[in-house]
């Protein structure tokens, strides 16, 4: 699987190229408020080009999940709303569409924390992903096999009730379920969370393959900065509901601040976790 990595040259997209061809998704300074009072996003803008992999990085509570939910229109269910700004997908404003419309247009989100349908079997979970499709049972069957090929473990557990599968299995189910909708764009919210290292790699590989072979664009919210920057070609860093830094993945990787705070290799080599004797003194771009 790791062979795949070389297949993708690092020079894929430069910012200028991004800007030139109309981006698939662009989020233009959106503001999000929860519960009518809690202002969470304070003007976030980002773009994802056709076929791009864009990473959304940032600490806890920075607003990554909120951003993704704003795009896929899942905020309403949490009493949140986009009060300012626009979201454009494929040349069309999408803030007022239902999630169903968005899935039909090819935007699907893999939610943070798995959210499998507990009482459905793994296979049924996957099949629900194909809800919006109408291209016939055979196609769906084939896609199911494709997902099983990506995640053999799921094939073993296909008849298990999803509620009783392990965390990793649930994560795979959730991603597989999203794949079943044949998306053009996937919003992945922390796909690596709670996965074994081997699996993390696998999942990122799969993500890249999807991107590569099937042209799925990807917006990826991740804590695992290391991994994310390795696979993405562009990145945004969120802090406190604002984008504080963006740039090409390679550029970000070389940024000193990013190194220090997100990669843990500030000032040279990776340090042991044991060595952080005193609590970190935070340096922030903003705030």
């Amino acid at each position: 699987m790791s062979v795949q990595r070389e297949a993708r040259p690092d020079e894929a997209n430069t910012p200028t190229v991004e800007a030139e061809k109309a981006p698939l998704l662009s989020v233009n300074s959106i503001e999000v408020i929860y519960d009518h009072v809690i202002l969470v996003l304070k003007g976030v803008s980002l773009t994802v080009g056709e076929g791009g992999i864009v990473a959304l990085l940032g600490g806890n509570g920075a607003g990554k999940t909120t951003t993704l939910k704003a795009i896929s229109n899942l905020l309403k269910a949490e009493r949140g709303e986009v009060t300012k700004g626009t979201i454009v997908f494929d040349g069309e404003q999408v803030q007022d569409l239902t999630p169903n419309d968005l899935v039909r247009r090819g935007v699907i989100q893999v939610m943070e924390g798995r959210h499998c349908f507990e009482h459905l079997s793994v296979e049924e979970n996957l099949l629900t992903g194909a809800f919006t499709r109408s291209d016939g049972a055979a196609e769906i069957r084939a896609d199911l096999e494709r997902v099983y090929a990506y995640f053999p473990r799921l094939k073993d557990r296909r008849d298990a009730q999803a509620g009783y599968t392990s965390g990793g299995e649930q994560q795979m189910t959730a991603i597989g379920r999203a794949l079943m909708s044949r998306p053009r764009m996937m919003l992945l919210d922390e796909p690596s969370m709670g996965l074994a290292p081997q699996l993390v790699e696998e999942i990122f590989d799969i993500v890249r393959q999807l991107n590569d072979k099937e042209g799925v664009s990807i917006l990826l919210a991740e804590q695992n900065t290391n991994m994310a920057l390795k696979f993405a070609n562009f990145g945004y860093i969120l802090e406190n509901g604002r984008v504080v830094l963006d740039g090409e993945a390679s550029a970000l990787r070389d940024n000193d601040d990013v190194k220090e705070f997100y990669l843990g290799i500030g000032g040279g080599e990776r340090r042991s976790f044991r060595e952080f004797k005193s609590y970190r003194r935070r340096k922030r771009w903003l705030s």
Partner: protein
């Protein structure tokens, strides 16, 4: 800006843990109490006292009870009517068996019987959860009503099984039964409500309350941090039914003065449940707001056409009332699923930030 905590620093944990740590809240509560004690009894008509204030206050206690169980301990119950019936019949039996016993003590004691019954019917909660439990508690509701209907002893063998409250005095003042002034009844119930609110508020911010809330929010995790689920759930049932029992006693003795079992049928359970949901689950304030809201709205709606001079027939009015009442409930649930208490909180939040939107 009007409502600020800024500048009110706490220098001790004791001060931080006071019931109303914020000055404005304290003043507000004092004002409300002053109005309730010093203004309302003197300016309101007996009608207002008897049909709105007294039942609302009595329902405050019942709602408080159910809120302990459902709002704090997370055990959905539809047996409230049954537990209230236990309180009512206990009040009746005790006061007829021991006519000399101070009636307030009778009220307080009758809750104890309800608590015992509550614990018994709470036993299934050790295994059953959520709606299953809710439906199972209906067993209490139906069984108890049947029992009181059935066994003549409970109604002193009244041929129709109806119980009615004999007059009783406290310190020479007639507080219940024929001849009791609405003001006196009101003040007695008000005092009980204030006392119970205080006690329950204290309970829920102490160990007991945290135990309940932990069980409510995630019983598995609660067990794993060392909470004895059985004890936690049964204590919630006990205290909840105690309050419901007292409320039932008052409902019978102070409000209706005579009841047959149907007064405690399942509709009553739903009414109380409405109160805590519309008022706010897990909130003492919510219980109070909910009780007043749900008691007053139908009365207001029933009267509205008459008072406004709209000539519609009573049945039309009643149908409209039912529709409006139902819609109001849905409306409030949509506006704020966490109830009036949360609306109140949000309002305070807004005041705090005023004039800034966020």
């Amino acid at each position: 800006m009007f409502y600020r905590e800024a500048g009110q620093f706490k220098t001790s944990y004791a001060a931080d843990q006071a019931i109303f740590p914020i000055l404005q809240d304290r003043l507000f509560v004092i004002a409300v109490l002053a109005v309730a004690y010093l203004v309302i009894p003197f300016i309101s008509t007996p009608y207002f006292l008897v049909t709105i204030m007294i039942p609302s206050l009595i329902f405050c206690i019942a709602a408080l009870g159910l809120n302990v169980l459902t709002g704090y301990a997370g055990q959905l119950s539809l047996g409230t009517g049954g537990f209230m019936a236990v309180g009512a019949y206990a009040t009746f039996k005790m006061t007829t068996m021991f006519p000399e016993l101070n009636i307030v003590i009778v009220f307080l004691l009758s809750g104890v019987f309800a608590a015992a019954v509550g614990v018994l019917f709470g036993l299934p909660s050790l295994r059953i959860k959520g709606f299953y439990l809710a439906v199972a508690t209906l067993a209490a509701q139906f069984f108890l009503i049947w029992l009181f209907n059935r066994v003549g002893w409970f109604s002193n063998y009244d041929p129709s099984g109806t119980i009615s409250m004999p007059p009783r005095d406290v310190f020479g003042i007639r507080v219940v039964g024929s001849g009791a002034a609405p003001e006196v009844r009101y003040l007695m119930v008000l005092t009980l409500v204030v006392v119970f609110c205080l006690l329950v508020k204290n309970l829920v911010r102490s160990r007991m309350g945290r135990t309940w809330m932990a069980v409510r929010d995630m019983d598995i995790a609660a067990e794993i941090i060392g909470i004895r689920l059985m004890w936690a759930k049964l204590s919630a049932f006990a205290i909840s039914s105690y309050l419901c029992g007292v409320a039932g006693g008052l409902y019978f003795a102070v409000y209706l003065r005579t009841v047959e079992t149907i007064a405690f049928d399942v509709v009553l359970s739903f009414v109380v449940l409405f109160m805590i949901i519309v008022g706010g689950l897990g909130s003492v304030l919510g219980s109070i707001l909910g009780a007043f809201f749900i008691t007053a709205i139908p009365v207001i709606l029933t009267r509205a056409p008459h008072d406004l001079g709209i000539p519609i027939s009573v049945d039309m009015a009643q149908h409209l009332e039912v529709i409006i009442f139902g819609s109001l409930i849905i409306f409030f649930l949509i506006v704020e699923p966490h109830g009036l208490a949360r609306l109140w909180q949000i309002a305070k939040e807004k005041l705090r930030r005023w004039p800034f939107p966020y």
